[in-house]
């Protein structure tokens, strides 16, 4: 599916494995949480990502995180906002610096929120218009609270310059 980064479509280098699919010989793969052990058993040079369900406790990734280049969080429906907290915990508690990818069915109107919680790429849901997402990205110039992006505060106010 089309992948969005910084409001632009970018090529996706990752192979996404489901519960059964065999591992490719080489190349970056995203495994479901249940197959994390298998993924970790691959050659240490191979890039590894994990897709977690929206109710996963982020803290359980603490010890394996240095081996992960990507964590995919998911929105089974756009109203289920748990992945926002997961992304923020990854950045803020575990200081994860790799890619955080949003999957599932987020809305374009949530794009800025995703970014400000630490998500870096969005796997666009089928039927998405990348234009609408791009517009959502440039819509607002101001936010009213700090975020993990550490945007510059405007003077001593609560406002952040986006």
């Amino acid at each position: 599916m089309p992948l969005l980064e910084n409001g632009r479509l970018v090529p996706d280098i990752w192979t996404i494995l489901d519960e059964e699919a065999p591992f490719p010989a080489t190349g970056p793969v995203i495994v479901p949480l249940s197959r994390l052990e298998e993924g970790l058993a691959r050659a240490p040079g191979e890039k590894l990502g994990v897709a977690i369900p929206q109710d996963a406790e982020i803290d359980t990734l603490r010890t394996v995180l240095p081996r992960l280049s990507l964590v995919a969080v998911t929105f089974p429906i756009f109203r289920d906002g748990r992945a926002f907290s997961q992304a923020r915990a990854l950045r803020e508690h575990l200081h994860f610096t790799g890619e955080i990818r949003a999957t599932g069915k987020p809305l374009p109107d949530q794009y800025e929120f995703l970014l400000r919680c630490g998500v870096s790429t969005v796997d666009l849901p089928p039927g998405s218009d990348p234009e609408v997402w791009a517009r959502a990205h440039t819509r607002f110039r101001t936010a009213y609270q700090p975020s993990v992006l550490g945007e510059r505060a405007e003077g001593v106010t609560l406002r952040r310059v986006l």
Binding site: F78, R116, R139, F140, Q145
Partner: protein, 564 residues
């Protein structure tokens, strides 16, 4: 001489927008205009559009769209109230409805008009953001904030900080369920802090700063629960960090499988107060506290955007008020029931009742709104407050000018002397507007206020709170009513169930069901009998609630059902 440009006057009582705030709001209006255009063109389905319109306060009710406009911490300025009057006149049926969350609703809005309405609102620094949806809603506040004699800290600056912080919050806009915060700065709880998802009470800290009592997990709905006390010493600089932790624990662990179990109250009950507190403390310890710290300079910068009233009353203001009261008993009664003591000598706060006998609680016509805006300009620094009891307040009125205010109000059917009395009823929109309703709440309120119209009778009965909801969602706060009335459906007929003993204040409690529900035509009589029973059995200065708490339900049960 420094050549400073005089700053434009800041609104008294609420934060004054600057260019950055205005630009933000303009962006938001354009975003919604774009969405409405896509909906009307058909490129957005109703399914896709629904969450977007709800984020802008636009609901689809039984007969039309309803637009709910945020009144942050319940404070309006006269310019804003006039704009609301204008919108009522131009786009609605010439009236608006003030709500229990200190907001304003228009009930008859056309979808295609909404972008223009939102643009007009933006012109006066108003919006409908987060008046709906599973996000942090408009923060409510004490209607006598900054004026009341018993207040320790004016909570509106902190309410504004919470408003800003929660506006389009990236993490907390898709919570398991809606989230309501109330804040007070008085030991006498006038905000129902214990019936909110989070209730905050600001008070002076030992070091001279401000700290907060924190309540969590209160609420009404089908599972009414009085909130628990989480801590009493939250320092101001940790206010946002700690709330981030509290709401984040809720976002992560709150139930999402059943909307009736999704409020934070259910989570707090499931984890226990201690269990919830531990999770919050762990989160608080793990987070980047420096990032979320609220420095005193930020509080000061936001405080500096509030206009303050220049309070100077003539020395004989109180004496003049006394003379006017002695000369006019009707005015004297209104002063007794509809005012609140002010911290400054010679001033007083006046409550404008939106509960005329036989009227619809909380409704105001555009002419009334215009008149109140004029009175606010002339007598109250242009400031108007909305109360959670669905009335309006002029916070700072000179005592020597109160008589003139009252006379003007009386000429516009706005001087009912019934604040806190039996005519001061809360009623939800009910079956007249709401698709979820079992019964019509408004006509019951109208019949009750007509039945007890006499101001003498109301004053004799004394403080009593009647609250009516048309279904178990409890928008009318019936659980917190001294007398609660709940609409139920019995084989297609509208019935009403009575609860007694609820209270929203510092002595918060949930009302208990009295007995079988009554048909519509028996309900008003039953309440009259309850009141009679109270009048017979009360001692001293007991309120209805006190008599009920002392004697229990049996006597009231007899009064209602013995003759039924």
């Amino acid at each position: 001489m420094p050549d400073t440009i005089p700053a434009p006057a800041l609104p008294v009582g609420h934060y004054g927008y600057d260019q950055v705030d205005r630009a933000f709001l303009a962006d938001r209006v354009e975003q919604f205009r774009d969405q409405v255009a896509r909906r009307i063109a058909g490129t957005l389905s109703e399914d896709e559009f629904k969450p977007l319109r709800l984020m802008n306060g636009l609901y689809l009710q039984l007969h039309a769209y309803m637009l709910r406009i945020a009144v942050p911490y319940g404070v309006l300025d006269s310019r804003q109230l006039r704009e609301l009057a204008h919108i009522a006149r131009t786009y609605d049926r010439d009236y608006g409805h003030f709500t229990t969350r200190q907001n304003l609703q228009f009930n008859w809005i056309k979808l295609e008009d909404t972008p223009d309405i939102l643009a007009r609102l933006a012109d006066v620094d108003m919006h409908a953001i987060q008046t709906s949806g599973n996000c942090i809603r408009n923060v409510t506040c004490d209607q006598f904030a900054g004026a009341a004699q018993d207040e320790l800290v004016d909570p509106r600056v902190h309410a504004e900080i919470l408003r800003q912080w929660s506006t389009l919050h990236p993490e907390f806009t898709f919570l398991p369920r809606k989230f309501k915060i109330a804040i007070s700065g008085s030991p006498n709880d006038r905000v129902a802090a214990r019936f909110h998802d989070i209730g905050l009470v600001a008070k002076p800290a030992p070091d001279g700063g401000t700290q907060f009592d924190v309540f969590v997990g209160g609420g009404m709905g089908r599972t009414p629960i009085v909130g628990v006390h989480l801590r009493d010493d939250l320092p101001e600089e940790d206010l946002l960090a700690y709330l981030e932790a509290m709401v984040r624990v809720y976002n992560e662990y709150g139930r999402r499988d059943n909307i009736y179990k999704a409020r934070i109250k259910i989570l707090v009950q499931a984890l226990g107060t201690e269990g919830y507190r531990q999770k919050v403390d762990a989160e608080f310890a793990a987070m980047n506290r420096a990032r979320y710290r609220l420095p005193p300079e930020t509080v000061a910068a936001i405080r500096a955007r509030f206009g303050t009233p220049d309070l100077h009353a003539p020395d004989d203001a109180a004496a003049q008020l006394d003379r006017a009261r002695r000369a006019d008993p009707a005015f004297d009664r209104w002063v007794r029931t509809n005012t609140n003591p002010h911290r400054a000598p010679g001033y007083i706060s006046a409550v404008i009742s939106l509960k005329p006998a036989g009227g619809i609680p909380g409704d105001a016509t555009s002419a009334q709104m215009d008149l109140i805006a004029d009175l606010a300009d002339r007598y109250a620094f242009g400031e108007i407050r909305v109360t959670h009891m669905q009335n309006l307040v002029l916070g700072h009125v000179r005592q020597d000018e109160l008589y003139a205010v009252w006379q003007a109000l009386r000429g516009a059917d706005l001087a009912a002397a019934n604040i806190g009395l039996i005519g001061d009823i809360i009623a939800c929109p009910g079956l007249d507007y709401c698709s979820l309703a079992n019964a019509r709440s408004i006509p019951i309120a109208q019949k009750l206020s007509a039945r007890f119209a006499s101001p003498e009778l109301q004053e004799t009965i004394g403080p009593i709170e009647i609250k009516i909801s048309g279904c178990i969602n409890a928008c009318g706060h019936h659980h917190a009513g001294h007398i609660g009335i709940l609409g139920v459906d019995k084989k297609g007929e509208e019935y009403f169930q009575l609860t007694l003993g609820g209270s929203p204040g510092s002595d918060a409690s949930v009302g208990q069901i009295l007995g079988p529900a009554l048909p519509e035509d028996a309900t008003v009589d039953a309440i009259a009998r309850l009141v009679d029973a109270y009048l017979v059995h009360r001692t001293g200065g007991e309120r209805f609630l006190d008599t009920y708490r002392r004697l229990g339900a049996a006597l009231f049960k007899d009064a209602v059902y013995a003759t039924a």
